[in-house]
């Protein structure tokens, strides 16, 4: 294909972002724009929850049990103060979703970040150093692949419960969760980064850096890392969606965040108790919110993968 006249410009920097093919492909797909908007809206709402949410569901003093189990505002008995109704404790569903998203997103983002840092580091080292180090890291990765994230997370949770004093567990549950989800996701990053590193390290620009005399750490940081970010970005996006689902699932199974600071998964689990009793809004709205958020992130990730893969264009 040396002859194709359309020599495609390799990836561009943010400075030229708006001129790039990625931006072009982005503004051409309304669904992706929508999913980006939805995702950003969720992130913004979560970030600015205290200003966005009509109530603060974590402020126990502001909750009145007598407001509990009110239906959404458009139904009979709906209360205009509570747009999507209230849950069994009298918390505003809309606000709990927003605050729940805050927790879900915090846990997932932190877990993704943790996975990413760990995975990239191990992947870079594995790919660049090679030899026995590589073999050991990759064998560990193989072993870990046998255990899906959810299982690892549960094991870790179980271990922490066994090791730590009980009272502490509630306080650190979120960090345990982040660690558990994070530690279970590094393999993807490590494998991808290792693969890219193996390719990049044999590229001549890396050899040129070595000829200059630059050491491996700086080479990895300055030369290899920026060149492996594309696939990492894609994995991170999709991993974020998975992390959100994992968090929700763990909370649903009762090994996630404590119900006093409910995440979206906890909300669904709590609401599930009311599915048959007709108070469907307690579980359905958080369920929809979760599905929409994950769907939006997945759509975005899907598009990003295609857009960053030059072969697909």
């Amino acid at each position: 294909m040396t002859d194709t006249p359309l020599t495609r410009a390799p990836r561009t920097r943010i400075g030229r972002f708006f001129d790039s093919d990625i931006w072009y492909s982005f503004i051409r797909s309304p669904l992706v724009i929508l999913s980006a908007i939805v995702s950003i809206a969720f992130f913004a709402a979560a970030l600015f929850a205290p200003w966005v949410a009509p109530h603060n569901p974590f402020d126990l003093a502001s909750i009145d049990l007598l407001d509990s189990s009110l239906p959404p505002v458009w139904l009979e008995d709906g209360d205009p103060r509570f747009l999507l109704g209230t849950d069994d404790q009298g918390r505003d569903i809309l606000s709990t979703i927003i605050y729940g998203a805050r927790i879900s997103l915090f846990v997932s983002l932190a877990a993704v970040f943790f996975s990413m840092v760990l995975g990239i580091t191990l992947g870079l080292v594995s790919g660049y150093v090679g030899g026995r180090t590589d073999a050991i890291i990759m064998r560990i990765a193989d072993v870990q692949l046998a255990f899906p994230a959810i299982l690892i997370a549960m094991l870790i949770d179980g271990v922490v419960r066994g090791v730590l004093p009980r009272d502490l567990h509630g306080d650190i549950a979120i960090y345990v969760l982040i660690f558990a989800i994070g530690i279970s996701g590094w393999v993807q990053y490590a494998r991808t980064v290792r693969g890219s590193t193996l390719v990049e390290k044999n590229k001549e620009y890396v050899q040129a850096a070595r000829v200059i005399g630059i050491g491996p750490v700086i080479i990895l940081w300055r030369h290899v890392l920026p060149n492996v970010t594309g696939p990492v970005l894609v994995i991170a996006t999709i991993h974020l969606a998975i992390a959100i689902i994992t968090e929700a699932t763990l909370s649903f199974l009762g090994v996630g965040v404590p119900p006093t600071t409910p995440s979206m998964g906890t909300l669904i689990q709590v609401g599930q108790d009311y599915l048959f009793s007709g108070e469907w809004w307690i579980t359905i709205f958080p369920g929809i919110a979760l599905a929409v958020l994950v769907l939006a992130i997945n759509l975005f990730g899907d598009w990003l993968r295609d857009a960053l893969n030059p072969k697909l264009r």
Binding site: M1, T2, D3, T7, P10, A209, V211, G213
Partner: protein, 570 residues
């Protein structure tokens, strides 16, 4: 009588930045048994022609004008089903890379027989017989046995023979060969070209041979079409084109091909080519930053001395030592390079020449042996201790696309060694040096803020050179610096290297598989094969009086094409 006629073909690739016209106003014809060479440099649109004829243009490309007729039948308007009957049965195609052209999971036999039966509708048995016969015809020994094997069990050259056999399965009237020998070694290349020539003659099959290599054209084609920027600029017999080109582009193209028979002081400046660059007049390197404070120790007579250098790679690791497999890439090589000399290393792929370069520059650690640079042993040095020496030797790589970090701006790429070795006291000074270097290599300071992808291959190679010069080295290793470049660009880069070498009094190790290029560049040459250094001699005496049998063999295979005035072989 013509076999294939193309009239006024135009191929366009719609894109968001407007339509790109890959081929326009193309008119060609091929007669049965004739080999038509289509030659041109990257981006000339030559591969597009082949794909357009066979109806397999990469989407979104489409043929927007013109017509293609095969033996009087219009084929460009056929629907997919009818076109499929043309492919294979009437037009065969050979691609560039034999390693990826074959299905790795099926035996050669299955691929051959299925193709034969699909195209000719013969019985299983007849298909099988034909398959063996075809393999025999393309020169595969023991065809009845080898047919049972999988593609990975064949060598590159053998695979290309299988590809040719597959292209012949449907007994086509025309074969389109798209760079069929580019991925092969010189010695194999010659055999494949011979084979194709013979087959065309014997079977009276017409062929369109698409290539960038004037040498291949000269050896093989009956007639030549020269393409430039999607148009045919000149058509004629091979003899005419090579010896009496009329179009300015053809002339410059041919003048840029390094002549194997003699050494030029400089290549003629090719003005026709648009990104031709020479550095500004009046740049005096002696007063320039590059020329100043070349504060190295006294230049001894011998700058680099290699003794019994050995490199062994493990190709299969195992806990049992007996199960391990090794490759001895470099076997006990000893050589020395004098100050100010250009030392050439020549050999086919896998001969170990690049490995030597990488051991000298510290990318690989030799298994045994010694390398002395300016009298100092460098093999055992730590990275820190080696740093002052690293500054004195730099390297230029083969692939202009991968040798620059695409995420960095040109100024950062060139400034990196300056900062690393502490050669500038401030950012501003470093910037100044970068700008000077860009001037020296003929790109100009405005290139500094751009990213590598904004440059062509030749320009990128200039950036590589600027980076290599940034440490003010006295020894430069050039590893196939031009083999990925078009000939016209190659000529300029070689000119630049020559100029720099003489003006800065650089010592150079110049590695290439291309003997004519070696002849243009080097003072002394070493010939390598299978990791061994077979012979070292002065360049002129090597070409006129080769000592080693292998050297003679290489010289025999060297394309006889020699530019203006030389006789086209055979």
């Amino acid at each position: 009588m013509t076999l294939l006629t193309i009239k006024g073909m135009r191929v366009e690739f719609p894109s968001r930045r407007g339509h790109v016209t890959a081929v326009q106003d193309l008119t060609l014809d091929v007669a049965p048994g004739e080999i038509l060479g289509v030659v041109g440099e990257s981006g000339a649109g030559k591969s597009t022609i082949g794909n357009a004829i066979i109806g397999l243009l990469e989407p979104p490309g489409e043929m927007t004008a013109g017509e293609i007729t095969l033996q009087g039948d219009r084929i460009d308007t056929l629907d997919e089903v009818k076109m499929r009957a043309v492919r294979g049965a009437r037009i065969g195609m050979i691609f560039q890379d034999p390693l990826t052209s074959l299905d790795p999971l099926q035996t050669v036999e299955t691929q051959l027989i299925d193709t034969i039966r699909e195209n000719l509708g013969v019985s299983e048995r007849e298909g099988s017989e034909r398959a063996v016969a075809l393999l025999d015809a393309v020169g595969i020994p023991d065809p009845a046995i080898r047919i049972k094997q999988y593609p990975h069990q064949f060598s590159g050259g053998m695979r290309q023979r299988v590809v040719i056999a597959l292209a012949l399965c449907g007994e086509p009237e025309l074969i389109i060969a798209d760079e069929p020998t580019t991925a092969l070694d010189v010695s194999v290349q010659a055999q494949i070209l011979d084979l194709m020539k013979g087959l065309c003659r014997d079977r009276n099959v017409g062929m369109i041979l698409i290539t960038h290599d004037m040498g291949v054209i000269a050896e093989t084609a009956d007639r030549v079409a020269v393409m430039y920027r999607g148009r045919v600029v000149e058509t004629g017999t091979t003899e005419q084109i090579i010896n009496h080109p009329t179009h300015e582009y053809t002339q410059s193209l041919i003048s840029a091909v390094p002549p194997p028979g003699r050494r030029l002081a400089r290549f003629p400046l090719v003005t026709y080519i648009e990104d031709a660059q020479e550095r500004p007049e009046g740049l005096n390197l002696a007063t320039h930053w590059l020329g100043q404070s070349r504060d190295y120790g006294a230049a001894s007579d011998t700058l680099l001395e290699i003794e019994k250098l050995h490199m062994r790679f493990v190709t299969r690791g195992s806990i049992f030592p007996s199960k391990r497999l090794f490759l001895d890439a470099v076997k006990d090589v000893s050589l020395s390079i004098k100050s100010g000399e250009v030392f050439g290393l020549v050999g086919e792929s896998g001969s170990g020449k690049s490995t030597i370069a990488r051991m000298i520059t510290g990318i690989y650690k030799p298994t045994s042996g010694s390398i002395r640079f300016a009298g100092q042993e460098i093999t055992g040095l730590s990275r820190k201790d080696a740093a002052p020496l690293r500054r004195q030797m730099q390297m230029i790589f083969q692939d202009p696309f991968s040798s620059l970090n695409s995420r960095m701006r040109v100024k950062d790429i060139i400034a990196e060694p300056i900062h690393f070795h502490g050669l500038a006291s401030s950012n501003a000074e470093a910037q100044k040096i970068v700008n000077d270097l860009l001037d020296v290599v003929g790109l100009g300071a405005q290139a500094a803020v751009k990213f590598p992808h904004e440059f062509s291959g030749g320009q990128r190679q200039r950036i590589s050179i600027a980076r290599a010069l940034a440490t003010r080295p006295r020894f430069l290793v050039c590893d196939e610096p031009t083999s990925a470049l078009d000939v016209s660009i190659q000529a300029q880069v070689l000119n630049l290297l020559k100029d720099l070498q003489s003006e800065l009094d650089l010592t150079m190790m110049f590695i290439s598989h291309d003997l004519p290029v070696i002849r243009q560049m080097c003072d002394r040459v070493g010939v390598m094969r299978h990791g061994q250094l077979l012979e070292v001699s002065e360049t002129e005496s090597l070409f006129t009086n080769p000592q080693h049998e292998y050297t003679r063999h290489l010289l025999d295979l060297m394309p006889k094409f020699s530019g203006f005035g030389a006789q086209a072989a055979e």
